[in-house]
Amino acid sequence: MQIQVNGEHHDVTAASLAALLDELGYDATARVATAVDGCFVAASRRATHPLHDGAQVEILAPMQGG
């Protein structure tokens, strides 16, 4: 399946958002927030959130800010 993760093209086998995080090497304790197609997906819903071809996924992490 062809998707975009943080603006970059990825060819993945994961069918859910949780599986995608695993496939990308994030461990279960990683402190990240996710959004698919511009909508927030809570951590508790990642396992049941399906991915579709062309999905735009954002995985964001804590960062310095003003």
């Binding site: 943080n6 970059e8 927030a33 996710t34 511009g38 964001l60 992490a61 960062m63 003003g66």
Partner: protein, 256 residues
């Protein structure tokens, strides 16, 4: 005592965490500032790195309340989604709401700001809106559910200080009971002291500390200025006059 959504902060100096030369210098600056709050953000991590996890560990270690921002958002939708993501990652319903309307000045889009503030307040967020000093906008934000206002001093990162003293004074006078923070544009400690002397409840500084030659020393200088300014405000400053008035008694002066 000033309460920000029911919370009293340990200090009236809020400090941004961006642009420091190193994580160690950032930690040093936060400690020397005795910061009441640190602002943080959410970003994509560079491929392969886990910089965000290291940054989060540092923030946890500093043990200062965090105020996540929606920096860089230009639309209501972006800001709302970013706020929702920040709430989960940082474990707080506080959000410094930025919706930028103009790229050169990074001026807030007050119309989108009010709309985003309304949506987020209804969703349980405690919104700290980054705004211009506009009185009507302030009224709308309060009506949308904001209990704190954060007017700009000058464009973000410009270091110009308080560009519109009249406007900031008017805003303070119109909403005497609303906790207000001057956010953005402060360049040196005297600017921060001035904001506090006007009766603002806190200031938020980032670039002025991070880009100083010695950030930790500058952080301390800002802490002292904020304290001095607050103390001066409470002590009720004299009124300015156009003409001189002798301070030494005239009565009893010798005729020589």
């Amino acid at each position: 005592m000033t309460l920000f959504y029911g919370t009293e902060l340990a200090s009236r100096l809020m400090l941004g965490t961006a642009q420091y030369p190193s994580p160690e210098i950032l930690a040093d600056a936060v400690r020397r500032a005795g910061a009441g709050v640190v602002t943080v953000s959410l970003r994509r991590e560079a491929a392969g790195t886990r910089a965000g996890q290291a940054f989060w560990a540092l923030i946890r270690e500093l043990d200062v309340p965090v105020l996540p921002n929606t920096a860089g958002c230009h639309t209501v939708r972006e800001a709302v989604t970013t706020a929702q993501m920040a709430r989960e990652v940082f474990g707080t319903d506080w959000i410094k709401l930025e919706v930028i309307g103009e790229s050169d000045t990074l001026q807030p889009d007050m119309f989108a700001l009010v709309e985003a503030a309304r949506i987020l307040t209804e969703d349980g967020f405690r919104v700290f809106p980054y705004m211009t000093e506009d009185l009507v906008g302030a009224e709308r934000l309060l009506r949308a559910g904001c209990e704190v206002l954060m007017p700009w001093g000058a464009p973000i990162g410009s270091g110009k200080g308080l560009n519109n003293l009249f406007g900031l004074r008017a805003l303070r006078a119109h909403f005497p009971d609303v906790p207000m923070v001057v956010d953005a544009g402060i360049g040196v400690p005297s600017h921060a002291a001035q904001a506090m002397e006007l009766g603002y409840d806190a200031v938020l500084i980032n670039t002025a500390v991070a880009k100083a030659g010695n950030p930790a020393e500058m952080a301390r200088a800002f802490a002292m200025a904020v304290e001095a300014g607050r103390m001066a405000y409470i002590a009720d400053p004299m009124e300015e006059r156009d003409m001189a008035v002798p301070s030494t008694p005239v009565i009893g002066q010798a005729v020589l």
